[in-house]
Subunit: 504 residues, 2 copies
């Protein structure tokens, strides 16, 4: 195990060496992590220091040791305080102990600090790193907080389980704006939106609508759109079609793994989790306890995460210098054990690899294209709120979907029972089962579960109030039907806020 | 345009030729479709005839002409009658006219007839067909009726849109059983389940639970499981890991496209849509109007769909004979224009390709592995119901999630207001926003939308009735809060039927 105080001392002297006052330096919370974490972090900090990165690390303990001390998420109150103060987190991989009761540290940090954007560059380094797709150079920007990952699940009947997919305007605006701002500061030319809005017209439709709205503010950046099915397929087979990709949470989860696997560079990739207040940077690989302490691990993933961090804190020039030196090192054939191939000229240790990068600071790669980062438009801390709440629409309540659990009645019998409970203001319009209309005029082949969605609507779209709905619900339950769930039906500024039934 | 009656006559004489009475023949509904449809169907039927397939085609009109006659889904009542009578549909590709108001024929047929399983073999034919994955030979079995595709979407507030993901026990049982039965009759060794049950523990958890339950009835078939993110990635990069894959609708949609694209064989692939009553077989490619009528189209996709159909109607021996002759034709280098490469020995027309297959009936491929299909265990029409409803669990109502639309109150203020409405039986337990707990003890960084989920639960899990919930809802709405949605909280046989809040 490395001694934190040593690393800290090394770094502080380094910062003084290059003539920068530590007062001006940007405080950064640093965690050495578990397994190979300490050694790759040491190599990374050495490069940052040599390149003149103006940062002041604060070291915190996270991970295995902390879990085993009884902190269920592997992090202490002191560590939280540091994160909330510095707002920037460079994190080495951690080991989650096996056994129940340990929560994912990353999920905890993401949820607690509201890290809404997951940023994952996926780049091929052929011929030095084996890849199926040598022309891959793209960045996936995945919404990180909502969609099906809100964890709102209910068993509603004996047969039917439900998960809510929530897509929100602020969630969409924040991630889409981040994607376009990222494209701008990273010299990217195109942003592609991936959704399934031919099926999910309201939720995924909102995501794409926001993409179009915000995209219009970035005329210099090209826009493209793929349905997620064919988009995933093209990402796997023709990644050169993509530059920056922005997508909701679940799709982003899937395509991030596809892209990482196809690029062949999982050991070399960094990623960022960005919030309005705090941002976290890390390698995408794990703590690799099997090779820990041997000095053979490749520090590239963490180093490239640190490069992302430097752009984030507006030290783009240093970031470019480090990234270009790293590219030169790889193309010079100076490789750690994991990359050894016929293209290797010298196999080196973790520390030696860091030194090789340091020796090349100021040089540009000749086979790879050099990078040139731009600072983001403003300091992250001073960014205006990414979402401004809009004025409320004129919302009118015009009906309700009542969900009923029953197995005894046919669709026609159910309709009759429900109609006996309907009020002047709320009339039964249709019944669906798994979204397919079964009344009026269903198909004999439709398989019916025990879960019925019964739509009541005000005649001629008159407006109702919630009291009318409660009266209806009372009537339905008085008739022996088991109401399990309701969804109000509203218009917003006169526009229908609900989908029609299939077959309606 | 081909004349149906000719094709029909050709086929009937064929059936008589091989000495089979048309009375014994299996009636099959056949649609010639649009574009290249008629010519590839003619070549396909010629092969079926020569191989001795015992079928009696009934020709129906679907597609462009029918759309333009004013049938919004491109199909007539007569065609529905034929489908409902024969229960087997061999369908050539159709053209959907451009313009609004035309509904997808495939979606209409799938929904109307309850085609719950989409079956998509994805096979590489290297070196004759260019592919990134020469070792690919897998079948994707996608649930086709539920999941997020039920089309139940609501705009709930100014900021929040919702889509329901429904996963049902009958839906899971039907698709999982189909997958294992398919594996058995097609000589497949392994079924892999792909879900995201580490996140969606109840919905995707149910799918995986059913996979384990039903899988236990097939001890000779290996079982495997992948989380959909890494599963998709492995499918794209190491498809040889997979044999049969079974997965819910959305994931199946995505991985079907990935697999088809990676295999390189989109022009050669057939697919099936299977229901309890009716099954439909087709090529996965479109009607290709640009090359229609030239006699150059490749009939392989439709022919291989017909092979799937023959297995379905328990003519496995004929299916194997045709499939092996087709493999031999491809490896002999007899190719239509789309496949011409250095491996081609003779470029042929659509009809000539069919004749080449016919000449090889009875031969086995030498480079490709021969196929040998088994008849399914029973005739599809006689299959016992795929789902037997289980006895109801003991359901106890113990609380309710009340969703509120508001922007004026802080979480603490909202809690106070709600508590003033709570009853003896239903106490406020927590409030979440996009699934993250904001009361009690929220995090200051949590971004809040205008959509609040407020959980009321009976103290010490006492039981309540729906009247108690209506009383609570009345009280909440009396206090000026806008209730937009409710979800009952129940236990089933004492097991909690709802997920806890994140941070709870």
């Amino acid at each position: 195990m490395l001694d934190h105080s040593n690393l800290s001392a090394v770094h502080e002297s380094a910062v003084t060496d290059v003539g920068l006052s530590t007062q001006q330096a940007v405080p950064v919370t640093v965690a050495l992590g578990d397994g190979i974490g300490p050694e790759i972090m040491q190599a990374t900090l050495a490069v940052l220091h040599a390149a003149g990165a103006n940062i002041a690390p604060e070291f915190i303990d996270i991970g295995e040791k902390v879990y085993l001390q009884g902190h269920s998420a592997g992090i202490t109150q002191d560590a939280w305080q540091s994160l909330r103060k510095t707002k920037v987190f460079l994190k080495a991989p951690v080991t989650t102990p096996s056994g129940k009761g340990f929560k994912s540290l990353n999920v905890t940090i993401r949820k607690t600090l509201g890290l809404y954007a997951n940023v994952r560059p996926c780049i091929s380094y052929a011929p030095f790193v084996q890849t199926q797709q040598p022309k891959m150079d793209l960045v996936i920007i995945r919404e990180n907080e909502e969609d099906l990952y809100a964890g709102i699940e209910h068993r509603q009947t004996d047969e039917v389980f439900q998960c809510l997919k929530l897509i929100t305007r602020p969630g969409c605006e924040k991630i889409v704006r981040y994607a376009f701002e990222y494209a701008r500061s990273h010299g990217r030319k195109k942003v592609t939106c991936m959704v399934k809005d031919n099926i999910m017209k309201m939720t995924d439709g909102l995501f794409y609508q926001v993409f179009e709205e915000i995209g219009a503010e970035y005329p210099e950046i090209a826009k493209d759109r793929f349905i997620i099915d064919i988009g995933s397929a093209r990402l796997a087979t023709r990644p050169e079609l993509f530059d920056v990709v922005v997508t909701p949470n679940l799709y982003g989860d899937i395509i991030s793994d596809i892209a990482a696997e196809v690029s062949g560079s999982i050991g070399l990739a960094g990623s960022a989790n960005i919030g309005e207040h705090v941002a976290m940077f890390e390698a995408i690989h794990g703590s690799a306890p099997d090779i820990a302490g041997q000095g053979v691990a490749n520090p590239s993933g963490l180093l490239l995460a640190a490069v992302m961090m430097l752009v984030h804190i507006r030290q783009a020039e240093i970031a470019s210098k480090i990234h270009n030196a790293w590219l030169k090192t790889i193309e010079d054939g100076i490789h750690t054990a994991d990359l050894v191939s016929t293209h290797t000229t010298l196999e080196v240790s973790t520390e030696q690899f860091g030194q090789a990068v340091i020796q090349r600071l100021g040089q540009l790669p000749s086979r790879f294209k050099p990078v040139q980062y731009q600072n983001p438009a403003v300091k992250p801390q001073e960014t205006r709120a990414l979402y401004q709440r809009k004025p409320a629409a004129k919302k009118a309540l015009i009906g309700v979907d009542v969900f009923v659990h029953q197995t005894q009645l046919s669709p026609a019998q159910l309709a009759e029972r429900l109609q006996s409970a309907q009020t002047e203001l709320l009339e039964l319009e249709m019944i669906t089962n798994r979204g397919v209309k079964v009344w009026p005029e269903g198909f004999p082949e439709t398989f019916c579960t025990d879960h019925w969605r019964c739509r009541f609507i005000a005649p001629e779209n008159a407006q109702v109030d919630y009291g009318n709905i409660l009266t209806l619900l009372f009537g339905i339950s008085q008739r022996g039907l088991d109401v399990i769930k309701t969804e109000n039906l509203c218009t917003f500024d006169g526009i229908r806020g609900f989908a029609l039934g299939q077959g309606q």
